[in-house]
């Protein structure tokens, strides 16, 4: 029996998967279910989701980068994309593809919050479901997440070049 082949790169990949995967899943769920969490009966759930998505659309609009219609489209898709990407990252299937996708999204998030911060926009960041003022800390946090995503992606590509010891053929 072979022991777990944990080295520095694999440790970083694991940390990246758990941290970023967890954060993406939480970010998506919180946008859909927070701050309004009444879920039953069904028409109440429908109203809760409509309210939360509409609040998220308003937060996107407050960045003044895209039209109200485009904000609606983003608000109706981004939370679901975050949940799916986060789950795929946690599961680890086709890691390189989804790690690259998450890195690209993080580049987008960092660009948007940095622009708003530099323009001194007094807005909520819209990162999670609950109101959170956009500050320098938001920019630093997104930068840290991007750095982790970037390193994880690079390491995932490096590791993929080498055969995994569990799946490598036994030496004669």
């Amino acid at each position: 029996m072979q022991s777990s082949p944990l080295n520095f790169r694999r440790a970083v990949i694991w940390i990246g998967r758990l941290v970023l995967g967890g954060i993406f899943v939480y970010a998506g769920f919180s946008k859909l279910l927070l701050p309004n969490t009444h879920l039953w009966p069904m028409f109440v759930l429908k109203f809760s989701l409509s309210m939360n998505i509409s609040s998220f659309a308003q937060q996107i609009e407050s960045y003044k980068m895209i039209s109200p219609e485009a904000s609606q489209v983003v608000a109706h898709t981004l939370p679901f994309v975050e949940i799916v990407l986060g789950l795929l990252l946690l599961i680890g299937w086709r890691l390189r593809i989804w790690a690259t996708a998450i890195t690209a999204i993080m580049v987008g998030f960092l660009t948007v919050v940095t622009r708003a911060y530099l323009l001194h926009m007094d807005i909520n960041c819209g990162c999670f479901g609950t109101p959170e003022k956009l500050t320098g800390m938001t920019v630093l946090r997104d930068a840290a997440f991007l750095a982790l995503a970037l390193v994880m992606t690079v390491f995932a590509f490096i590791e993929a070049r080498k055969p995994h010891p569990w799946s490598a053929p036994e030496k004669a």
Partner: protein, 213 residues
């Protein structure tokens, strides 16, 4: 491969468990009795099947959106017809420099029967007075000099502060942490909702609430 299946299965189970816990915890609460209603800031029939308490801040842009887009139709279609009893609650957020002052003027105007005109002028000119701080001048633009004298006297009198504080405390009881937050009461249930609701979404919800048996 098996390890991956096991970890994916555990992950899925964990998520389902978390969702079930959230689902169970998020059932509507039993309604407390609506108290401390200032009749000057309440509209419609007290016996309406649905009560809506709107916690609002005059300096909050989302509250302006709610007031200018949804409120008019709500008043015409549900409040005037006796289906909804609408209560305006003051919830001046500490982060806004002039919202408490504006709340005082709004309250004072309500006491002399000018709530609607003053609320409208405050919301419509929000960007101006939040820069200049000239709440008094903004309110004066829609009131006669005699009315303005009464409003100023009420604002200076200090009695309104207690009313605003009561609304604020009530909001804290509902765990209001952003404005606007609307608390719906219907058939013994309470549903607090944060954020701006479009009239179409609100209408769908109210119709469902009203058709509940």
């Amino acid at each position: 491969m098996n390890r991956r299946r096991i970890s994916a299965g555990s992950l899925l189970l964990g998520l389902l468990g978390a969702f079930a816990a959230l689902f169970a915890a998020a059932a509507p609460q039993s309604a407390p009795v609506v108290s401390d209603v200032d009749p000057h800031k309440a509209f419609g029939s007290k016996n309406a099947p649905v009560i809506m308490e709107v916690f609002s801040d005059f300096q909050c842009p989302a509250c302006k959106t709610l007031f200018t887009t949804t409120n008019r139709q709500l008043m015409d279609d549900y409040v005037s017809s006796g289906k909804v009893y609408l209560i305006h609650r003051d919830f001046p957020l500490p982060m806004h420099a002039y919202s408490r002052i504006a709340a005082r003027y709004g309250r004072a105007a309500a006491q002399i029967g000018k709530a609607e005109a003053v609320e409208q002028v405050l919301f419509q000119n929000q960007e101006k007075w939040e820069q200049s701080g000239d709440v008094d001048g903004t309110v004066a633009s829609v009131l006669s000099p005699a009315e303005m004298t009464k409003v100023r006297a009420l604002v200076k009198g200090g009695t309104l502060e207690n009313m605003i504080d009561k609304d604020y405390a009530l909001g804290q009881g509902y765990r209001v942490n952003q404005t606007p937050t609307t608390v719906f009461h219907c058939k013994g249930q309470t549903y607090p909702y944060s954020g701006v609701m479009s009239y179409e979404i609100l209408k769908g919800f109210l119709d469902q609430l009203l058709s509940q048996k």
